[in-house]
Protein backbone atom coordinates (compact mmCIF):
# COMPACT_ATOMS: atom_id res chain seq x y z
CA UNK A 1 0.00 0.00 0.00
CA UNK A 2 1.53 3.32 -1.03
CA UNK A 3 2.00 5.80 1.75
CA UNK A 4 -0.84 8.28 1.69
CA UNK A 5 -0.01 11.94 1.56
CA UNK A 6 -1.00 13.11 4.97
CA UNK A 7 -0.03 16.71 4.66
CA UNK A 8 0.33 18.60 1.45
CA UNK A 9 1.55 22.15 1.59
CA UNK A 10 -0.95 24.69 0.31
CA UNK A 11 -0.63 28.40 0.36
CA UNK A 12 -3.01 30.11 2.73
CA UNK A 13 -6.04 31.02 0.66
CA UNK A 14 -5.66 34.77 0.87
CA UNK A 15 -1.98 34.76 0.03
CA UNK A 16 -2.65 32.53 -2.92
CA UNK A 17 -5.39 34.85 -4.12
CA UNK A 18 -3.07 37.82 -3.79
CA UNK A 19 -0.30 36.19 -5.77
CA UNK A 20 -2.77 35.19 -8.44
CA UNK A 21 -4.14 38.74 -8.38
CA UNK A 22 -0.69 40.15 -9.06
CA UNK A 23 -0.12 37.79 -11.94
CA UNK A 24 -3.41 38.91 -13.47
CA UNK A 25 -2.03 42.45 -13.73
CA UNK A 26 -0.85 43.57 -17.09
CA UNK A 27 2.98 43.38 -17.44
CA UNK A 28 3.30 47.18 -17.33
CA UNK A 29 1.23 47.44 -14.15
CA UNK A 30 3.25 44.63 -12.58
CA UNK A 31 6.44 46.51 -13.49
CA UNK A 32 4.97 49.58 -11.78
CA UNK A 33 4.21 47.57 -8.66
CA UNK A 34 7.75 46.17 -8.60
CA UNK A 35 9.35 49.60 -9.05
CA UNK A 36 7.24 51.20 -6.31
CA UNK A 37 7.88 48.33 -3.91
CA UNK A 38 11.65 48.65 -4.52
CA UNK A 39 11.60 52.40 -3.89
CA UNK A 40 9.36 51.89 -0.87
CA UNK A 41 11.85 49.47 0.65
CA UNK A 42 14.69 51.89 -0.09
CA UNK A 43 12.82 54.75 1.53
CA UNK A 44 11.75 52.83 4.62
CA UNK A 45 15.01 51.01 5.26
CA UNK A 46 17.52 53.36 3.65
CA UNK A 47 19.90 52.84 6.61
CA UNK A 48 20.41 49.25 5.47
CA UNK A 49 21.51 50.20 1.98
CA UNK A 50 23.52 53.38 2.41
CA UNK A 51 27.26 52.90 2.37
CA UNK A 52 28.03 56.31 3.83
CA UNK A 53 26.31 59.04 5.79
CA UNK A 54 24.40 61.03 3.13
CA UNK A 55 25.30 64.42 4.61
CA UNK A 56 28.84 63.98 5.87
CA UNK A 57 31.43 65.32 3.50
CA UNK A 58 34.87 64.00 2.72
CA UNK A 59 36.81 67.20 1.91
CA UNK A 60 39.65 65.33 0.19
CA UNK A 61 37.34 63.32 -2.13
CA UNK A 62 35.48 66.14 -3.88
CA UNK A 63 33.97 65.29 -7.31
CA UNK A 64 35.41 61.80 -7.59
CA UNK A 65 33.98 59.55 -10.31
CA UNK A 66 32.23 56.25 -9.57
CA UNK A 67 34.53 53.83 -7.75
CA UNK A 68 34.35 50.83 -5.42
CA UNK A 69 34.39 53.13 -2.44
CA UNK A 70 31.81 55.58 -3.82
CA UNK A 71 29.61 53.63 -6.25
CA UNK A 72 27.99 56.69 -7.79
CA UNK A 73 30.96 59.00 -7.13
CA UNK A 74 31.01 62.07 -4.88
CA UNK A 75 29.54 65.54 -5.36
CA UNK A 76 30.97 69.03 -5.05
CA UNK A 77 30.88 68.84 -1.25
CA UNK A 78 32.57 65.47 -1.24
CA UNK A 79 29.39 63.64 -0.20
CA UNK A 80 28.63 60.04 -1.30
CA UNK A 81 26.08 60.21 -4.13
CA UNK A 82 24.96 56.56 -3.84
CA UNK A 83 23.89 57.08 -0.22
CA UNK A 84 22.28 60.41 -1.06
CA UNK A 85 20.23 58.93 -3.92
CA UNK A 86 18.95 56.19 -1.62
CA UNK A 87 18.17 58.62 1.17
CA UNK A 88 16.39 60.84 -1.39
CA UNK A 89 13.66 58.20 -1.77
CA UNK A 90 12.47 59.27 1.68
CA UNK A 91 11.82 62.76 0.32
CA UNK A 92 10.10 61.42 -2.79
CA UNK A 93 7.53 59.49 -0.76
CA UNK A 94 7.59 61.89 2.18
CA UNK A 95 6.35 64.69 -0.06
CA UNK A 96 4.14 62.78 -2.48
CA UNK A 97 2.10 60.73 0.02
CA UNK A 98 1.09 63.54 2.38
CA UNK A 99 0.48 65.88 -0.58
CA UNK A 100 -1.91 63.37 -2.15
CA UNK A 101 -3.60 62.75 1.21
CA UNK A 102 -4.17 66.50 1.62
CA UNK A 103 -5.46 66.77 -1.94
CA UNK A 104 -7.89 63.88 -1.30
CA UNK A 105 -9.03 65.29 2.03
CA UNK A 106 -9.80 68.69 0.49
CA UNK A 107 -10.93 67.61 -2.97
CA UNK A 108 -13.29 64.75 -2.19
CA UNK A 109 -15.53 66.52 0.37
CA UNK A 110 -15.68 69.60 -1.85
CA UNK A 111 -16.59 67.47 -4.88
CA UNK A 112 -19.26 65.63 -2.88
CA UNK A 113 -20.90 68.77 -1.55
CA UNK A 114 -20.65 70.73 -4.80
CA UNK A 115 -22.07 67.87 -6.84
CA UNK A 116 -24.84 67.05 -4.42
CA UNK A 117 -25.98 70.58 -3.61
CA UNK A 118 -25.53 71.98 -7.10
CA UNK A 119 -26.65 75.53 -7.83
CA UNK A 120 -24.75 78.58 -6.63
CA UNK A 121 -22.55 76.69 -4.15
CA UNK A 122 -21.42 74.34 -6.91
CA UNK A 123 -20.67 77.26 -9.23
CA UNK A 124 -18.63 79.14 -6.61
CA UNK A 125 -16.57 76.14 -5.48
CA UNK A 126 -15.89 74.92 -8.99
CA UNK A 127 -14.93 78.37 -10.28
CA UNK A 128 -12.45 78.75 -7.40
CA UNK A 129 -10.97 75.38 -8.28
CA UNK A 130 -10.94 76.22 -11.98
CA UNK A 131 -9.02 79.33 -11.01
CA UNK A 132 -6.39 77.13 -9.39
CA UNK A 133 -6.12 75.04 -12.53
CA UNK A 134 -5.70 78.01 -14.84
CA UNK A 135 -2.21 78.88 -13.62
CA UNK A 136 0.64 76.62 -14.64
CA UNK A 137 1.10 74.64 -11.45
CA UNK A 138 4.87 75.09 -11.23
CA UNK A 139 4.62 78.86 -11.40
CA UNK A 140 1.82 78.95 -8.84
CA UNK A 141 3.67 76.58 -6.53
CA UNK A 142 6.82 78.67 -6.94
CA UNK A 143 5.01 81.85 -6.04
CA UNK A 144 3.17 80.39 -3.06
CA UNK A 145 6.19 78.60 -1.59
CA UNK A 146 8.34 81.69 -2.08
CA UNK A 147 5.69 83.81 -0.37
CA UNK A 148 4.88 81.49 2.55
CA UNK A 149 8.41 80.62 3.47
CA UNK A 150 10.65 77.86 2.31
CA UNK A 151 10.07 74.73 4.28
CA UNK A 152 9.30 71.14 3.48
CA UNK A 153 5.92 71.48 5.22
CA UNK A 154 4.95 74.41 3.00
CA UNK A 155 5.87 72.50 -0.14
CA UNK A 156 3.66 69.59 0.97
CA UNK A 157 0.74 71.87 1.87
CA UNK A 158 0.95 73.84 -1.37
CA UNK A 159 1.17 70.74 -3.56
CA UNK A 160 -1.76 69.14 -1.73
CA UNK A 161 -3.89 72.22 -2.09
CA UNK A 162 -2.99 72.75 -5.77
CA UNK A 163 -3.86 69.17 -6.59
CA UNK A 164 -7.21 69.04 -4.78
CA UNK A 165 -9.26 70.23 -7.83
CA UNK A 166 -8.39 67.00 -9.65
CA UNK A 167 -10.15 64.93 -6.99
CA UNK A 168 -12.98 67.42 -6.56
CA UNK A 169 -13.78 67.30 -10.29
CA UNK A 170 -13.67 63.51 -10.46
CA UNK A 171 -15.93 63.00 -7.45
CA UNK A 172 -18.30 65.77 -8.47
CA UNK A 173 -18.85 64.20 -11.88
CA UNK A 174 -19.70 60.87 -10.25
CA UNK A 175 -22.01 62.51 -7.72
CA UNK A 176 -23.87 64.35 -10.48
CA UNK A 177 -24.61 61.01 -12.08
CA UNK A 178 -25.70 59.38 -8.83
CA UNK A 179 -27.52 62.09 -6.94
CA UNK A 180 -30.84 61.48 -8.67
CA UNK A 181 -30.46 57.71 -8.58
CA UNK A 182 -33.04 55.55 -6.88
CA UNK A 183 -30.92 54.49 -3.97
CA UNK A 184 -30.16 58.07 -3.02
CA UNK A 185 -33.84 58.96 -3.22
CA UNK A 186 -34.61 55.94 -1.12
CA UNK A 187 -32.00 57.01 1.41
CA UNK A 188 -33.58 60.46 1.63
CA UNK A 189 -37.00 58.86 2.05
CA UNK A 190 -35.55 56.82 4.91
CA UNK A 191 -34.86 60.04 6.79
CA UNK A 192 -31.09 60.21 6.40
CA UNK A 193 -29.63 63.66 6.99
CA UNK A 194 -27.57 65.07 4.12
CA UNK A 195 -24.17 64.34 5.69
CA UNK A 196 -25.06 60.67 6.05
CA UNK A 197 -26.12 60.49 2.41
CA UNK A 198 -22.89 62.15 1.35
CA UNK A 199 -20.48 60.08 3.41
CA UNK A 200 -22.28 56.75 3.85
CA UNK A 201 -23.90 56.40 0.45
CA UNK A 202 -22.32 58.67 -2.14
CA UNK A 203 -18.71 58.56 -0.96
CA UNK A 204 -18.21 54.77 -1.22
CA UNK A 205 -19.95 54.76 -4.58
CA UNK A 206 -17.93 57.58 -6.11
CA UNK A 207 -14.45 57.10 -4.69
CA UNK A 208 -13.17 54.53 -7.20
CA UNK A 209 -12.14 56.93 -9.92
CA UNK A 210 -10.42 59.18 -7.40
CA UNK A 211 -8.51 56.24 -5.92
CA UNK A 212 -7.26 55.29 -9.37
CA UNK A 213 -5.86 58.80 -9.71
CA UNK A 214 -3.88 58.79 -6.47
CA UNK A 215 -0.78 57.09 -7.91
CA UNK A 216 -0.76 59.35 -10.96
CA UNK A 217 -1.12 62.43 -8.77
CA UNK A 218 1.67 61.15 -6.50
CA UNK A 219 3.89 61.02 -9.59
CA UNK A 220 2.91 64.61 -10.30
CA UNK A 221 3.78 65.66 -6.74
CA UNK A 222 7.18 63.96 -6.93
CA UNK A 223 7.89 65.70 -10.22
CA UNK A 224 6.77 69.16 -9.09
CA UNK A 225 8.56 68.99 -5.73
CA UNK A 226 11.77 67.96 -7.51
CA UNK A 227 11.29 70.81 -9.96
CA UNK A 228 10.85 73.27 -7.10
CA UNK A 229 13.99 72.00 -5.42
CA UNK A 230 15.82 72.21 -8.76
CA UNK A 231 14.79 75.83 -9.01
CA UNK A 232 16.10 76.39 -5.49
CA UNK A 233 12.68 76.77 -3.87
CA UNK A 234 11.59 74.76 -0.87
CA UNK A 235 14.31 72.25 -0.18
CA UNK A 236 17.90 73.48 -0.23
CA UNK A 237 21.12 71.64 -0.91
CA UNK A 238 22.88 69.90 0.93
CA UNK A 239 19.61 68.12 1.83
CA UNK A 240 19.77 64.83 -0.12
CA UNK A 241 16.70 65.56 -2.23
CA UNK A 242 16.91 64.52 -5.87
CA UNK A 243 15.81 67.85 -7.36
CA UNK A 244 18.33 69.73 -5.24
CA UNK A 245 21.05 67.21 -6.16
CA UNK A 246 20.33 67.59 -9.87
CA UNK A 247 20.53 71.36 -9.47
CA UNK A 248 23.92 71.03 -7.83
CA UNK A 249 25.08 68.57 -10.49
CA UNK A 250 23.88 70.69 -13.41
CA UNK A 251 26.80 73.09 -13.06
CA UNK A 252 29.30 70.20 -13.19
CA UNK A 253 27.80 68.74 -16.37
CA UNK A 254 29.72 71.17 -18.56
CA UNK A 255 33.01 70.35 -16.87
CA UNK A 256 32.53 66.63 -17.36
CA UNK A 257 31.43 65.41 -13.89
CA UNK A 258 28.23 63.77 -15.25
CA UNK A 259 27.64 61.44 -12.27
CA UNK A 260 26.55 64.20 -9.90
CA UNK A 261 23.31 64.94 -11.80
CA UNK A 262 22.72 61.69 -13.70
CA UNK A 263 22.14 59.29 -10.79
CA UNK A 264 19.51 61.31 -8.90
CA UNK A 265 17.95 62.03 -12.31
CA UNK A 266 17.62 58.33 -13.09
CA UNK A 267 16.12 57.66 -9.65
CA UNK A 268 13.60 60.44 -10.17
CA UNK A 269 12.62 59.17 -13.61
CA UNK A 270 12.12 55.64 -12.31
CA UNK A 271 9.96 56.72 -9.38
CA UNK A 272 7.70 58.91 -11.54
CA UNK A 273 7.55 56.21 -14.21
CA UNK A 274 6.70 53.53 -11.65
CA UNK A 275 3.95 55.61 -10.08
CA UNK A 276 2.39 56.27 -13.48
CA UNK A 277 2.49 52.57 -14.38
CA UNK A 278 0.91 51.77 -11.03
CA UNK A 279 -1.83 54.34 -11.68
CA UNK A 280 -2.61 52.68 -15.00
CA UNK A 281 -2.67 49.33 -13.26
CA UNK A 282 -5.13 50.49 -10.61
CA UNK A 283 -7.36 51.89 -13.33
CA UNK A 284 -7.27 48.54 -15.12
CA UNK A 285 -8.33 46.73 -11.97
CA UNK A 286 -11.14 49.15 -11.14
CA UNK A 287 -12.59 49.55 -14.58
CA UNK A 288 -14.50 46.40 -15.50
CA UNK A 289 -14.63 47.35 -19.17
CA UNK A 290 -10.85 47.58 -19.46
CA UNK A 291 -10.51 44.40 -17.42
CA UNK A 292 -12.89 42.52 -19.69
CA UNK A 293 -11.01 43.47 -22.82
CA UNK A 294 -7.91 41.66 -21.60
Amino acid sequence: MPPSVTHQFTWPRRTANRVRGLSRLSPTAAAGVVIIVCFGVLALFSEWFMTHDPVSSYPNRILQGPSFEHWFGTDGNGMDIFSRVIYGAKFGFGIAIPAVIIAVLIGIPVGLIAGYRGGALDEILMRIFDGLRVFPSIILALAVVAATGQSLLNVVLVLGFLDSPVFARLVRAEVLALRSSNFVESAIAAGNPTWRILFFHLLPNTIQGAMAQTAVRAAWAVRISATLAFLGIGIQAPTPEWGAMIRQGAEFMVTGQWWVAIFPGIALIFLVFGLNLLGDGIQDILDPRRRASK
Partner: protein, 323 residues
Protein backbone atom coordinates in the same frame (compact mmCIF):
# COMPACT_ATOMS: atom_id res chain seq x y z
CA UNK B 1 -58.39 62.62 12.85
CA UNK B 2 -57.23 61.47 9.48
CA UNK B 3 -53.84 59.85 9.25
CA UNK B 4 -53.08 61.84 6.12
CA UNK B 5 -55.02 64.77 4.79
CA UNK B 6 -53.91 66.43 1.59
CA UNK B 7 -55.68 69.63 0.62
CA UNK B 8 -55.24 71.48 -2.66
CA UNK B 9 -51.69 70.24 -3.15
CA UNK B 10 -50.08 72.00 -6.11
CA UNK B 11 -46.67 71.08 -7.43
CA UNK B 12 -45.18 72.87 -10.41
CA UNK B 13 -41.96 72.59 -12.34
CA UNK B 14 -40.63 76.13 -12.47
CA UNK B 15 -37.53 76.95 -14.46
CA UNK B 16 -36.07 79.37 -16.94
CA UNK B 17 -35.57 78.08 -20.45
CA UNK B 18 -32.66 78.78 -22.74
CA UNK B 19 -34.02 82.22 -23.69
CA UNK B 20 -34.51 82.97 -19.99
CA UNK B 21 -38.28 82.78 -20.28
CA UNK B 22 -39.95 81.62 -17.09
CA UNK B 23 -41.63 78.31 -17.83
CA UNK B 24 -44.03 76.59 -15.51
CA UNK B 25 -45.38 73.07 -15.91
CA UNK B 26 -48.39 72.59 -13.69
CA UNK B 27 -47.82 68.98 -12.77
CA UNK B 28 -50.11 68.69 -9.74
CA UNK B 29 -53.28 70.75 -9.73
CA UNK B 30 -55.10 70.88 -6.41
CA UNK B 31 -54.88 67.30 -5.27
CA UNK B 32 -57.14 66.37 -2.37
CA UNK B 33 -56.81 63.05 -0.55
CA UNK B 34 -57.71 61.54 2.81
CA UNK B 35 -56.33 58.39 4.31
CA UNK B 36 -57.20 56.61 7.56
CA UNK B 37 -55.26 54.04 9.51
CA UNK B 38 -55.49 50.51 8.17
CA UNK B 39 -56.76 51.71 4.82
CA UNK B 40 -55.17 50.95 1.46
CA UNK B 41 -55.52 53.66 -1.14
CA UNK B 42 -54.62 52.99 -4.75
CA UNK B 43 -53.60 55.87 -6.95
CA UNK B 44 -54.01 55.02 -10.63
CA UNK B 45 -53.45 56.99 -13.77
CA UNK B 46 -51.38 56.99 -16.91
CA UNK B 47 -47.73 57.94 -17.13
CA UNK B 48 -47.20 61.58 -16.31
CA UNK B 49 -50.49 61.93 -14.44
CA UNK B 50 -48.62 62.93 -11.27
CA UNK B 51 -48.88 59.76 -9.20
CA UNK B 52 -45.24 59.54 -8.18
CA UNK B 53 -45.02 63.30 -7.89
CA UNK B 54 -47.80 63.20 -5.31
CA UNK B 55 -45.81 60.69 -3.26
CA UNK B 56 -42.62 62.72 -3.61
CA UNK B 57 -44.42 65.90 -2.60
CA UNK B 58 -45.73 64.22 0.55
CA UNK B 59 -42.27 63.07 1.59
CA UNK B 60 -40.43 66.22 0.56
CA UNK B 61 -38.39 64.34 -2.04
CA UNK B 62 -38.83 66.92 -4.79
CA UNK B 63 -35.72 68.21 -6.49
CA UNK B 64 -35.56 71.49 -8.33
CA UNK B 65 -37.14 72.51 -10.64
CA UNK B 66 -40.09 70.68 -9.03
CA UNK B 67 -41.61 72.71 -6.22
CA UNK B 68 -44.72 72.61 -4.08
CA UNK B 69 -46.41 75.94 -4.73
CA UNK B 70 -49.56 75.57 -2.67
CA UNK B 71 -51.78 73.43 -0.52
CA UNK B 72 -51.18 71.47 2.63
CA UNK B 73 -50.21 67.96 3.65
CA UNK B 74 -51.31 67.13 7.19
CA UNK B 75 -49.83 63.98 8.66
CA UNK B 76 -51.37 63.27 12.09
CA UNK B 77 -52.18 66.96 12.28
CA UNK B 78 -48.61 68.04 11.46
CA UNK B 79 -48.04 70.17 8.39
CA UNK B 80 -45.31 68.36 6.45
CA UNK B 81 -44.77 71.03 3.82
CA UNK B 82 -43.52 73.69 6.24
CA UNK B 83 -41.42 71.32 8.34
CA UNK B 84 -37.68 71.93 8.61
CA UNK B 85 -35.42 69.37 6.96
CA UNK B 86 -34.26 67.87 10.29
CA UNK B 87 -37.79 67.49 11.61
CA UNK B 88 -38.84 65.92 8.33
CA UNK B 89 -35.93 63.48 8.60
CA UNK B 90 -37.29 62.36 11.97
CA UNK B 91 -40.58 61.46 10.31
CA UNK B 92 -39.32 59.99 7.03
CA UNK B 93 -38.25 56.41 7.47
CA UNK B 94 -39.74 56.32 10.98
CA UNK B 95 -43.40 57.27 10.78
CA UNK B 96 -43.64 57.34 7.01
CA UNK B 97 -42.12 54.40 5.19
CA UNK B 98 -41.55 54.72 1.49
CA UNK B 99 -40.88 52.07 -1.10
CA UNK B 100 -39.52 53.89 -4.12
CA UNK B 101 -39.70 52.64 -7.70
CA UNK B 102 -37.29 50.18 -9.21
CA UNK B 103 -36.19 47.82 -6.42
CA UNK B 104 -32.92 46.69 -7.97
CA UNK B 105 -31.44 50.16 -8.18
CA UNK B 106 -32.92 51.44 -4.95
CA UNK B 107 -30.50 49.62 -2.69
CA UNK B 108 -27.05 51.06 -2.08
CA UNK B 109 -24.88 48.72 -4.19
CA UNK B 110 -21.94 48.82 -1.77
CA UNK B 111 -23.73 47.97 1.47
CA UNK B 112 -24.87 44.51 2.52
CA UNK B 113 -28.66 44.32 2.78
CA UNK B 114 -28.61 43.45 6.47
CA UNK B 115 -26.52 46.52 7.20
CA UNK B 116 -28.96 48.67 5.26
CA UNK B 117 -31.79 47.38 7.44
CA UNK B 118 -29.78 47.87 10.63
CA UNK B 119 -28.81 51.36 9.51
CA UNK B 120 -32.33 52.54 8.88
CA UNK B 121 -33.33 51.32 12.33
CA UNK B 122 -30.39 53.02 14.00
CA UNK B 123 -30.99 56.28 12.14
CA UNK B 124 -34.22 56.66 14.04
CA UNK B 125 -33.76 54.77 17.28
CA UNK B 126 -30.90 54.55 19.74
CA UNK B 127 -30.98 50.77 19.78
CA UNK B 128 -27.87 48.62 19.96
CA UNK B 129 -26.56 46.82 16.88
CA UNK B 130 -27.58 43.42 18.28
CA UNK B 131 -31.15 44.61 18.85
CA UNK B 132 -31.33 46.19 15.39
CA UNK B 133 -29.88 43.03 13.90
CA UNK B 134 -32.44 40.70 15.41
CA UNK B 135 -35.17 43.13 14.42
CA UNK B 136 -33.83 43.17 10.85
CA UNK B 137 -33.80 39.39 10.70
CA UNK B 138 -37.34 39.24 12.08
CA UNK B 139 -38.45 41.77 9.47
CA UNK B 140 -36.74 39.87 6.65
CA UNK B 141 -38.59 36.81 7.86
CA UNK B 142 -41.86 38.77 7.92
CA UNK B 143 -41.51 39.86 4.29
CA UNK B 144 -40.86 36.29 3.24
CA UNK B 145 -37.14 36.28 2.57
CA UNK B 146 -36.05 32.67 3.00
CA UNK B 147 -33.08 31.98 5.26
CA UNK B 148 -32.78 35.55 6.63
CA UNK B 149 -29.67 34.86 8.74
CA UNK B 150 -27.78 33.89 5.62
CA UNK B 151 -29.27 36.59 3.40
CA UNK B 152 -28.40 39.18 6.02
CA UNK B 153 -24.91 39.50 4.59
CA UNK B 154 -25.93 39.31 0.92
CA UNK B 155 -25.04 42.12 -1.47
CA UNK B 156 -27.81 43.88 -3.40
CA UNK B 157 -26.55 42.57 -6.75
CA UNK B 158 -27.00 39.01 -5.54
CA UNK B 159 -30.76 39.46 -5.15
CA UNK B 160 -33.48 38.84 -7.69
CA UNK B 161 -35.95 41.62 -8.40
CA UNK B 162 -38.57 40.07 -6.15
CA UNK B 163 -36.11 39.65 -3.30
CA UNK B 164 -34.86 43.23 -3.70
CA UNK B 165 -38.47 44.41 -3.52
CA UNK B 166 -38.97 42.43 -0.33
CA UNK B 167 -35.86 43.97 1.15
CA UNK B 168 -37.12 47.44 0.28
CA UNK B 169 -40.46 46.70 1.90
CA UNK B 170 -38.65 45.35 4.96
CA UNK B 171 -36.63 48.58 5.08
CA UNK B 172 -39.77 50.69 4.88
CA UNK B 173 -41.34 48.66 7.69
CA UNK B 174 -38.28 48.49 9.98
CA UNK B 175 -39.46 51.33 12.18
CA UNK B 176 -43.15 50.31 12.08
CA UNK B 177 -44.40 53.37 10.22
CA UNK B 178 -47.95 54.64 10.47
CA UNK B 179 -48.02 55.48 6.78
CA UNK B 180 -46.56 53.39 3.99
CA UNK B 181 -46.18 54.74 0.47
CA UNK B 182 -45.37 52.14 -2.16
CA UNK B 183 -44.55 53.61 -5.55
CA UNK B 184 -45.18 50.93 -8.16
CA UNK B 185 -44.15 48.14 -5.82
CA UNK B 186 -44.56 45.41 -8.39
CA UNK B 187 -43.57 46.96 -11.70
CA UNK B 188 -41.06 44.80 -13.49
CA UNK B 189 -41.77 41.71 -11.43
CA UNK B 190 -43.40 38.68 -12.92
CA UNK B 191 -47.01 37.99 -12.12
CA UNK B 192 -46.60 35.28 -9.49
CA UNK B 193 -44.06 37.36 -7.56
CA UNK B 194 -46.34 40.36 -7.98
CA UNK B 195 -49.19 38.52 -6.31
CA UNK B 196 -46.94 37.31 -3.49
CA UNK B 197 -45.64 40.80 -2.78
CA UNK B 198 -49.08 42.38 -2.80
CA UNK B 199 -50.59 39.67 -0.61
CA UNK B 200 -47.72 40.24 1.75
CA UNK B 201 -48.25 44.00 1.73
CA UNK B 202 -51.94 43.60 2.41
CA UNK B 203 -51.24 41.20 5.23
CA UNK B 204 -48.66 43.54 6.79
CA UNK B 205 -50.98 46.52 6.48
CA UNK B 206 -53.66 44.67 8.40
CA UNK B 207 -51.17 43.49 10.98
CA UNK B 208 -49.50 46.83 11.64
CA UNK B 209 -52.66 48.92 10.97
CA UNK B 210 -50.80 51.19 8.61
CA UNK B 211 -52.38 53.61 6.23
CA UNK B 212 -51.03 52.65 2.82
CA UNK B 213 -50.83 54.31 -0.54
CA UNK B 214 -50.11 52.07 -3.51
CA UNK B 215 -49.21 53.82 -6.71
CA UNK B 216 -49.76 51.77 -9.83
CA UNK B 217 -51.15 51.83 -13.31
CA UNK B 218 -52.53 48.35 -12.99
CA UNK B 219 -56.27 48.45 -12.34
CA UNK B 220 -56.26 44.77 -11.47
CA UNK B 221 -54.00 45.46 -8.49
CA UNK B 222 -56.31 48.21 -7.31
CA UNK B 223 -59.40 46.00 -7.61
CA UNK B 224 -57.79 43.16 -5.70
CA UNK B 225 -55.85 44.85 -2.95
CA UNK B 226 -57.12 48.36 -2.31
CA UNK B 227 -59.97 49.75 -0.24
CA UNK B 228 -60.13 53.12 -1.93
CA UNK B 229 -58.97 54.40 -5.25
CA UNK B 230 -58.01 57.81 -6.61
CA UNK B 231 -57.92 58.18 -10.37
CA UNK B 232 -55.46 60.82 -11.52
CA UNK B 233 -55.37 62.63 -14.82
CA UNK B 234 -53.05 65.50 -15.72
CA UNK B 235 -52.23 66.25 -12.11
CA UNK B 236 -55.81 66.18 -10.91
CA UNK B 237 -57.77 63.60 -9.02
CA UNK B 238 -60.73 63.13 -11.30
CA UNK B 239 -62.46 60.51 -9.24
CA UNK B 240 -62.07 59.27 -5.69
CA UNK B 241 -64.04 56.68 -3.76
CA UNK B 242 -64.18 53.11 -2.57
CA UNK B 243 -63.03 50.41 -4.95
CA UNK B 244 -66.43 48.70 -5.06
CA UNK B 245 -68.26 51.90 -5.95
CA UNK B 246 -65.86 53.06 -8.62
CA UNK B 247 -65.48 49.71 -10.31
CA UNK B 248 -69.25 49.12 -10.21
CA UNK B 249 -70.30 52.57 -11.29
CA UNK B 250 -67.52 54.85 -12.49
CA UNK B 251 -68.67 58.48 -12.46
CA UNK B 252 -66.03 60.18 -14.57
CA UNK B 253 -65.79 59.58 -18.31
CA UNK B 254 -62.03 59.10 -18.00
CA UNK B 255 -62.47 56.38 -15.38
CA UNK B 256 -65.00 54.69 -17.65
CA UNK B 257 -62.53 54.76 -20.51
CA UNK B 258 -59.80 53.48 -18.26
CA UNK B 259 -61.92 50.58 -17.07
CA UNK B 260 -63.04 49.80 -20.61
CA UNK B 261 -59.46 49.54 -21.75
CA UNK B 262 -58.68 46.66 -19.39
CA UNK B 263 -58.33 43.36 -21.20
CA UNK B 264 -60.70 41.00 -19.48
CA UNK B 265 -61.10 37.27 -19.61
CA UNK B 266 -59.55 36.54 -22.99
CA UNK B 267 -61.62 39.23 -24.69
CA UNK B 268 -58.42 41.03 -25.58
CA UNK B 269 -59.69 42.25 -28.91
CA UNK B 270 -62.59 44.04 -27.35
CA UNK B 271 -60.45 46.14 -25.04
CA UNK B 272 -60.79 49.75 -26.07
CA UNK B 273 -57.87 52.11 -26.13
CA UNK B 274 -57.81 55.72 -25.09
CA UNK B 275 -57.16 57.99 -27.99
CA UNK B 276 -55.21 61.20 -27.83
CA UNK B 277 -52.55 62.53 -25.53
CA UNK B 278 -52.63 63.96 -22.03
CA UNK B 279 -52.74 67.77 -22.13
CA UNK B 280 -49.59 69.85 -22.32
CA UNK B 281 -48.70 70.72 -18.73
CA UNK B 282 -47.09 73.97 -19.84
CA UNK B 283 -50.30 75.06 -21.46
CA UNK B 284 -53.28 73.52 -19.74
CA UNK B 285 -56.68 74.06 -21.38
CA UNK B 286 -59.30 76.28 -19.77
CA UNK B 287 -61.87 74.31 -17.83
CA UNK B 288 -61.87 70.53 -17.77
CA UNK B 289 -58.42 69.10 -18.40
CA UNK B 290 -59.68 65.96 -20.11
CA UNK B 291 -61.94 67.78 -22.59
CA UNK B 292 -59.79 66.88 -25.60
CA UNK B 293 -60.08 63.18 -24.92
CA UNK B 294 -63.66 62.99 -23.74
CA UNK B 295 -66.59 61.86 -25.85
CA UNK B 296 -69.01 63.86 -23.72
CA UNK B 297 -67.11 67.13 -24.07
CA UNK B 298 -69.24 70.15 -24.85
CA UNK B 299 -69.01 73.94 -24.49
CA UNK B 300 -69.81 73.56 -20.80
CA UNK B 301 -66.45 71.81 -20.35
CA UNK B 302 -64.58 75.07 -21.04
CA UNK B 303 -65.46 76.12 -17.49
CA UNK B 304 -63.78 74.35 -14.57
CA UNK B 305 -65.82 71.30 -13.61
CA UNK B 306 -67.26 71.10 -10.08
CA UNK B 307 -66.37 68.29 -7.69
CA UNK B 308 -69.60 66.41 -7.25
CA UNK B 309 -70.24 63.92 -4.48
CA UNK B 310 -72.47 61.06 -5.58
CA UNK B 311 -74.86 59.32 -3.19
CA UNK B 312 -72.36 56.45 -2.87
CA UNK B 313 -69.80 58.88 -1.41
CA UNK B 314 -67.43 58.89 -4.37
CA UNK B 315 -66.34 62.30 -5.59
CA UNK B 316 -66.19 63.06 -9.30
CA UNK B 317 -64.68 66.09 -11.00
CA UNK B 318 -67.01 66.42 -13.99
CA UNK B 319 -69.95 68.50 -15.20
CA UNK B 320 -71.81 65.38 -16.19
CA UNK B 321 -71.18 63.28 -13.09
CA UNK B 322 -74.85 63.00 -12.25
CA UNK B 323 -75.93 61.84 -15.68
Amino acid sequence: MNLLKITDLQTHFVFHDIDNYRREARALNKVNLNLNRGEILGIVGETGAGKSLTAQSICGLLRPPAKVVGGSVLFLGKELLSLAEEDLNDIRGAEIGMVVQNPKSSLDPLTRIGDQLVRIHQTHTASAVSVARSKAIAMMHAVGIPDPEKRFSAWPHELSGGMAQRVLIAMALMNEPKLLIADEPTTGLDVTVQAQILELLKDLVRRFEMGTIIITHDLGIVAHYCDKVAVMFAGEIVEYGTVTDIFRRPGHPYTKQLLASTPEKLKLNEAGSLGGQPPDLFNLPEGCLSQDRCSLASDQCRTPPPVITLETGQTVRCHFALQ
